[in-house]
Symmetry: C2
Subunit: 478 residues, 2 copies
């Protein structure tokens, strides 16, 4: 509990200025502070505890699917980064260069990793010899640096945390399975832990990762109707393997190139979480990854027995949930505000009258609903309630996304819907990059993905009117 803040400042209403609302919330909920270097952030205890919960859950899934954690170096020689042409073109404009060590100029400049494909490739080239070495399923949790022009905490920062999986396989098909498997792991994390529905699909050629054969993505919709790419999984085919000479001897003794994938999610997920679930009173944490699931707020805590009883409840609740108590000398009203700003899923209020009646008052953060619950049923009811909150947050987000998803069949309609309502636009596309570019210029929307679940919105491309190839989700995006 922060004891020194004597009041919680109001956040800007999201209807008035969504960007300012976001900045207010991340600051006032004590998630981050700005770093000294432009675009960097200090992730404070509450924000980092959230990241630890997301990370630990995902790490568990990554290991359960057979991957092993490793650690590769931070710095990459310029010559190594330049080996794969598309890849270096994609990242060069935004990398930080180390040129000196101590007083000495380095013989070769080093890049602070923006991603680590080339390092893993160099390693695989040395360490993969036979089909018996495959698949090689590695992952690392690390920090990367990308010098972004405009930055915002979690959403786009010069440095961020992520995990990057890098795998090598004997066949194109097996790598394709891996690419999809990890996309599904991400989708499961988003939907079942972050309570954030996602649309699974494939990126267009224009939007795919620099150097990939194709990129799969999960796309989510924020409260303001803008989309956010929540995670990507790339199939490299043999592209990197040919450049880095990563080969193996197959069972017949023939030399073959390996087929590779990479996949990652970042601290961006925290930004998404805020923008999907937050409201004008602050954060709302999905119970499954909330650092504190239940906050106990004693009422009239100076009265005899209140604090003792509150601590007893805490001790008992610790067996079933992540619980904390706000025993600071702030006023209850302040504590309620703070508890809403931090987004604790359930608040427990306990005062002298409650103790007399052998009960507490429970307040849900998502709906604001209150209920009285006898001491004897508290643990059971809280666990149940947390399940309800988790489910309700997901259902609300799905409902919001459905409300904010529009099917359009003409460019006029496209532009009108996007400017008046925003959200996801479902529209048919011929597959040509010129049309994709045309849509972006006329509406500001980019293609988010070609969804796995296709629907026939119309027969023709929304831009050129030629025969349509597939339905695409379009949106203005973070």
């Amino acid at each position: 509990m922060s004891k020194n803040k004597q009041f919680v400042e109001k956040v800007t209403a999201m209807e008035d200025d969504f960007g300012q609302w976001y900045t207010d919330v991340v600051k006032q909920a004590d998630l981050v502070d700005y770093g000294v270097v432009r675009g960097t952030m200090v992730i404070k205890p509450y924000g980092f505890a959230l990241w630890e919960n997301i990370r630990d859950e995902l790490d568990h899934q990554i290991k359960a699917t057979g991957h092993k954690n490793v650690s590769f170096p931070l710095l990459i020689p310029e010559s190594l980064l330049q080996k794969e042409k598309d890849h270096v073109e994609g990242f060069s404009p935004e990398v930080a260069w180390v040129t000196h060590a101590g007083d000495e100029k380095l013989a070769e400049r080093l890049v602070v990793r923006p991603t680590s494909e080339v390092l893993f490739c160099e390693y695989y080239s040395d360490n993969i010899h036979s089909y018996r070495d495959l698949p090689m399923l590695y992952n690392q949790w690390s920090n990367v640096v990308r010098w972004e022009k405009t930055t915002r905490p979690f959403l786009r920062s010069s440095e961020f945390h992520w995990q990057e999986g890098h795998t090598a396989h004997a066949s194109h098909e097996e790598a394709a399975e891996e690419t999809e498997k990890m996309l599904n792991v991400y989708a499961d994390l988003c939907e079942n832990y972050l309570a954030m529905p996602v649309i699974k699909g494939k990126k267009t050629e224009k939007e795919k990762f620099a150097g990939a054969e194709y990129t799969l993505t999960i796309e989510s919709l924020m409260h303001d109707g803008r989309a956010l790419q929540a995670g990507t999984s790339h199939h490299f085919g043999t592209g990197f393997a040919e450049v880095f000479d990563i080969t193996y001897l197959d069972e017949n003794g023939d030399r073959q190139f390996v087929h590779q994938t990479s996949w990652g999610v970042t601290t961006r997920l925290i930004g998404a979480l805020i923008m999907v679930h937050g409201d004008n009173r602050g954060l709302i944490m999905p119970p499954k990854i909330a650092p504190t699931q239940v906050m106990i707020v004693p009422i009239a805590q100076h009265k005899e027995g209140v604090l003792d009883r509150a601590y007893d409840l805490k001790e008992s609740l610790e067996d079933v949930v992540r619980v904390d108590i706000d025993a600071s000398d702030n006023m209850p009203g302040w504590k309620f505000n703070e508890s809403e700003m931090k987004g604790y899923p359930v608040r427990v209020e306990i005062g002298p009258r409650d103790i007399e009646n052998e009960q507490v008052v429970l307040v849900r953060r998502d709906t604001g609903e209150k209920e009285s619950v006898p001491f004897t049923q508290l643990n059971e009811r809280i666990v149940e309630l947390l399940g309800d909150v988790q489910q309700n947050l997901f259902d609300q987000a799905v409902a919001h996304r459905e409300e904010m998803t529009s099917r359009v069949t003409s460019m006029d309609e496209f532009a009108n819907v996007l400017s008046e309502k925003g959200g996801f636009i479902q529209a048919m596309w011929c597959g040509e990059e010129t049309c994709e570019e045309d849509i972006r210029e006329k509406t500001g929307a980019t293609s988010r993905c070609i969804p796995f679940e296709q629907e026939q919105v119309s027969e023709t491309c929304v831009s050129c009117g030629e025969a349509a190839k597939e339905m695409v989700y379009w949106a203005r995006a973070y």
Copy 2:
């Protein structure tokens, strides 16, 4: 299991060349590979799993003592690093400089953090206002870069992983308690988890951390008789607070400087672990932090029922230990060697005759002792055995250290013992840096620490013959 290596290469005998033995072991036990950039390392799955176990245990202790994890940026502006004079002098020669981002030259050079004191200070200066904000107890797990001239995996690398705790307190005394508390947490980790005895003490002025009022340290002794600093904890007094203007209003409304500490341990601990417990057949992992505590090796696994039974045992053992099975088609002898190289604390051998007799053979890695154990008693016996291995490793290390610790009263004796035997030298010191320097020049030994547990070896300084102030542990060190 690596399936492609058809034999385990022999390691150099430690008696012949300890340095080469170390390098052979870290490579052949699959802990690391060399990175592309000089002095960096790729930590491979087995090495990283070991680090994860050490990290998770220590993280648990750090949180249990009231600290919260945070994340501060990787890059530090030059002007910020230069604020504290001793600190910048200590680190400048070995920092990596970022001078450009994309195509543009930065207005100010940035340092890739060698340690993060100045960032935490800048944050504390903005975020500490009142005595109610104190103590502020932060920790971060991160990677740091120090451009070392000579490098060796884990022991001294251009980049390494560590945790750095940074705390701010209302009084000198409270900061002193914190400094000692965290040293004790480190000592507990080393002794009770890594089975590595340490000597607790204070660094001399000459050897203390750049910018600290004093530095506490734990010092351990390696197999070759050289010492290794395993962890340090620094009391900064108000030194940084005065430079960075970190003040708080006390209960009387008076403005006061905060008192700070910092403390850290690194991936160096892995190097220490290897050099304390390893032997000429490879690693020996202390059971408590071993990624795999028990390795099952099937004998004549092509015979009917052997593999099935081995997998049954594995499934049953999974309830109580971290267990794996080597069902590769390598020969049993190869598997035994591999199992010794990797240092699995206990090996379970099971073949057709064992199955007939309803038993297995257990082999301890530390002593090589074998015993037959009935299936019905296996789980219980293994848990017991792992406890024995853990204790024996610690006892052996203590015995080795005692054997390699000498008390000397003259410089001749000092030089002779050090060159003939090595190890820790206990000798009296007057407290003057000139004598410390004299000892280093004549013997190559540095002061390791002024131990908390003092013993009176003689009346006078071993170097100058003046009245002695305290007993110091000296050694050649990593």
